[in-house]
């Protein structure tokens, strides 16, 4: 399995799009399995970093194999895209289910105090990111890597093959732009 993944990664690095199509479901499966096992490991878990998931998925799938850093970077980049798709699709489904008349009441008591719901409207953010991509593809990608992939600025720089400063600039601008868009 490891050889297969590594090979697919390398092929994809070399520009083989079909390899990506094969890789994605495999990575998705692995992420899902890991998420389940993280959640099960303790009946009461408290925090989970998506980066941890992605890193572990990488270790399990590619492991210690000698892989060019470009391939590694692409893996993380892909995982971020996967996460984005998964989360947005899930949120869309949930919204649809709610509108369908399912029970949904938020009481203004304990629920509010302890709610750890995301403040960001994921669907609005996703739409805005699509718009941003038409203005500056790299900036949109930076947000995708950092927000959905949980990567640091340095890791993002590594994935994109640009400098730390470039990422920081792009991140600041994209973030301000998105914030403005989402508050309109």
């Amino acid at each position: 399995m490891t050889n297969n993944i590594t090979q697919l990664l390398v092929n994809w690095s070399d520009g083989d799009q079909a390899a990506l199509n094969q890789l994605m479901p495999l990575v998705y499966d692995e992420l899902r399995r890991l998420a389940e096992s993280y959640l099960r490991r303790q009946p009461y878990h408290h925090t989970l970093q998506p980066t941890a998931l992605v890193h572990e998925a990488y270790m399990r799938m590619v492991g210690q194999e000698e892989v060019a850093w470009e391939s590694r970077a692409q893996f993380f980049g892909m995982a971020a895209t996967l996460m984005r798709r998964i989360l947005v699709d899930h949120t869309r489904e949930k919204m649809a289910a709610k509108r369908g008349g399912g029970e949904f009441r938020l009481s203004l008591s304990e629920a509010d105090r302890f709610s750890q719901d995301e403040d960001v409207d994921l669907i609005a953010l996703d739409n805005a990111l699509v718009d941003l991509a038409t203005l500056n593809q790299q900036h949109s990608r930076i947000v995708e890597l950092r927000y959905f992939g949980g990567l640091t600025i340095d890791e993002t720089a590594s994935v994109l093959g640009v400098s730390h400063a470039t990422v920081e600039r792009g991140w600041n601008m994209a973030r301000a732009w998105l914030r403005r868009e989402l508050s309109r």
Binding site: R32, S37, L39, R105, F114, V120
Partner: protein
């Protein structure tokens, strides 16, 4: 907005960020002289930047894991009169949520059996059995069951919500002092004892299923695999199948396997002594920081459980008294006939040992002050502090008196000898 516009705005925005507020205004005035609309763009972006707070600073972590793992209930959702707040975790038997009991306005842990299993009679039965098993028990170290029911096709169990951490967390994070270890294990043994008295064998008392509160109170959870002994033995088709529900990820399989008794690993019938073995494993792990039976895969771990002797505790750690080694050893006998035959027996030994250790500690520190009267008062105080038995008081004082008498007698002998051997 066009890409070109965006580029222009970005250039000015980035530059402005390096300036002070005052400088920004004059900078923008100058540069955007011919293009006031651009200035508006940049200023609104700067404003957004200032007000961003922690906007998208951290990834939506909880959602990611929940979504990936295919979790079913969302925040705000009502299950009967319980309102979901968030997912706490996913166990073998279902998902556990933090929820609010809207009648009593208190937090609870809500365990849900996923909808798709409702038609699976066996799983439903086991789910309900868990509720019944734990609710039949009333013990400070066993999780309190509030209610169980079915709501819009979803089976649920509402239990007390416990703040704190699991023993798994504790073991992974730091080494425990022997005193603390004994405190913890005594509470677990106490809980298991109570369960056994009701004819309930836990079967899965591993560190992930034991929690410790900030105040030190230990709670045993998840009676999901609990076997009700006498009542169901006749009709129970899984008398011989003790393997906990395990799927997928290899790490998870191993984690559960390491706590199994030899008879469980062999698919043989289980009884109270199975829990004793598991308790022995947990005790070992708390002391040594690692599990007694290891391996790289399921086969190796099972072999280890069935045939290997664990590394002696005295080797794993410097301060392990022989008696503790003996207790662990007796709990970990492969042949259940050789083990402690009841949790009460083991509990008694653990308590004695704990008293001894405390006594030693007190004697050591008091001896340095070389006042003979102090130890009695200290022992009395310690006896009063003990939550448990009235026996400790007497026992301690007796032991102290014995050592004091020994000292006095020795002193008398020495004085006598000196008198006898004085120069004539």
């Amino acid at each position: 907005m066009t890409p070109e516009r965006y580029r222009q705005a970005e250039e000015l925005f980035s530059k402005a960020l390096t300036l002070t507020q005052a400088q920004r205004t004059s900078f923008l005035e100058t540069v955007c002289f011919a293009d006031p609309e651009l200035r508006v763009e940049v200023e609104s972006l700067l404003a957004a930047h200032e007000q961003a707070g922690n906007f998208i600073d951290t990834p939506p972590s909880k959602t990611a894991a929940e979504v990936l793992a295919g979790v079913n209930a969302g925040p705000g959702q009502m299950i009967g009169h319980y309102q979901i707040i968030n997912l706490l975790g996913k166990g073998g038997m279902g998902e556990v949520y933090l929820a609010v009991d809207t009648h009593l306005d208190r937090r609870v842990a809500l365990k849900l059996l996923p909808g798709q299993f409702t038609s699976n009679g066996d799983r439903v039965l086991r789910f309900v059995q868990e509720a019944k098993a734990a609710s039949a028990l009333n013990h400070p170290n066993i999780i309190t069951i509030h209610e169980t029911g079915k709501e819009s096709g979803t089976h649920f169990i509402a239990t007390e919500f416990i703040e704190g951490q699991t023993l798994r967390h504790l073991i992974d994070s730091s080494t425990q002092s022997l005193g603390d270890v004994l405190d913890i294990v005594i509470q677990v043994a106490s809980a298991l004892s109570a369960a056994h008295e009701h004819g309930i064998v836990h079967r899965d008392a591993k560190p992930e299923n034991i929690m410790i509160r900030p105040d030190g109170l230990v709670k045993v959870l998840d009676f999901g695999l609990a076997k009700l002994l006498s009542r169901r033995e006749a009709s129970d088709k899984d008398v011989k199948s003790p393997r906990p529900e395990i799927k997928t990820a290899p790490g998870l399989i191993l984690g559960t396997l390491q706590y199994m008794s030899p008879e469980q690993a062999n698919g043989k019938p289980v009884d109270a002594r199975t829990d004793i073995f598991t308790l022995g494993v947990v005790l070992y792990e708390l002391i040594a920081g690692r599990a007694p039976f290891n391996g790289d895969n399921a086969l190796e771990v099972t072999d280890s459980i069935l045939a290997a002797e664990p590394v002696p505790l005295t080797q794993a750690r410097g301060d392990v008294p022989l008696e503790l080694q003996r207790i662990v050893g007796k709990a970990l006998r492969k042949d259940k006939e050789q083990r402690y035959q009841s949790c009460r027996e083991m509990l008694a030994d653990l308590k004695s040992l704990k008293q001894e250790l405390e006594l030693k500690a007190k004697l050591n520190s008091k001896a340095q002050q070389s006042e003979i009267t102090r130890p009695i008062a200290a022992a009395k105080r310690a006896g009063v502090d003990e939550m448990n038995d009235g026996l400790s008081d007497k026992l301690k004082v007796q032991k102290l008196l014995a050592s004091m008498i020994l000292i006095i007698v020795t002193a008398a002998i020495i004085i006598g000898l000196i008198w006898w051997w004085r120069p004539k």
